[in-house]
Symmetry: C3
Subunit: 166 residues, 3 copies
């Protein structure tokens, strides 16, 4: 946790704070690239970034949401197909063109990059504090996600060679 823990440092960690399509894409491209080079990677999703992990379909919740929690859920994009570009979104035209070019040029789409990351064993952690604030429940997120708080992120950052805030 402090200087003494340095011997074990390895790999890369990425705090995916943004829910912008372009930035989430960057996080997954880097993560999959690192995994292909056998560099261990952990993706920690907080705040807007958690929207990238939401299931598209509505799920039956174990407990009811408050009105404000429902509103957050409606206003935020659910899943990788609904994320918006940070720039040049242009009502969806920008994202559509970007996805088209990626597909034409053989670059995996975000949903495929996420699937690949799970297959490669890239650790994905969702921030429980962000989920609590925004009223997002575990059953609303895709499978294969771990759940942890900020202390866990600090540990991950301290154990990694490099940490990016995306």
């Amino acid at each position: 946790m402090n200087g003494e823990g340095r011997k074990k440092r390895k790999g890369m960690s990425i705090l995916v704070f943004s829910g912008d399509l372009d930035k989430v894409l960057a996080a997954f491209v880097i993560a999959n690239g690192a995994a292909a080079m056998e560099v261990p990677v952990t993706l920690f999703f907080a705040f807007w970034g958690i929207n990238a992990l939401r299931r598209e379909e509505r799920v039956r919740l174990r407990s009811k949401k408050s009105l404000v929690e429902k509103m957050f859920g409606w206003m935020m994009p659910n899943g990788p197909n609904r994320l918006k570009l940070s720039n040049m979104h242009m009502g969806g035209l920008g994202s559509k063109l970007l996805k088209r070019e990626m597909s034409k040029k053989g670059v995996l789409s975000l949903p495929h990059l996420i699937d690949k990351a799970r297959e490669e064993g890239i650790k994905m952690v969702a921030c429980t504090m962000s989920m609590n604030i925004m009223g997002i429940r575990e059953e609303e997120l895709i499978d294969g996600i771990d759940y942890a708080g900020v202390a866990s992120f600090v540990d991950i950052a301290n154990e990694s060679e490099s940490t990016l805030f995306v």
Copy 2:
């Protein structure tokens, strides 16, 4: 400064460049979390991030500002209560709902997180070059802030286990 300095590396540093409420919140949540785990933290505030440290009340300046410096001062949010969300700000409704949920769920507000960081001895440094460009004076910022330039940030980053650009 270079490879030789590695023995002394410890803790975490965060360059708070953004003045968005959500990102400044993230920086202080991580910083306070790390401090609670006895991981030393330095927050370096540059550009928009400096707005989080501005006093809400008007202060008597030691020297006059130019018109452009006054304009920057008027247009930028003064203090943590005026910061806007990077997304879903919706004329202030988004921030209001977020703050309400945080309070309901026992998460400290940004002004309280800043107070706590100062009590915990988290080092907070304001970038003098940014302040010079935007015409912000030391007397306009809250107490307990150090002042330094970019060389100081490079040193801090080199002495830290991990550095985040927020």
Copy 3:
């Protein structure tokens, strides 16, 4: 690439993902500051960040662009003088005032910072995957740039003391 490579770690790397004037300025101020302290720096430009390296003048292309590639080229800013602020851009007034204040206060402008970075031998790498997706060609970027993919970025990050995602 993994823990074994740690002995060689040194310096700083910055992934310039953003094409916002303020963030690109921050990246070059930090990079030039680090270089002045003899800390080795690598700037890796991806996605919007590549726009900072585009030549202002139109260049003769070796091969034709598709319509979508041309559209991307028209809509994105070409070169450091056309980048927009992430906040307070106000149709260009904000950037104009910022540049005026920087010049009045003796801070190098972005084009000058870029020139200085090249003179100082700061390594600048453009992400070939981003260029491929957006249809940007090598002949459209300024001289002195290296070209590499994501694997190269992972290596750079692993060899640096600190890595920033800007």
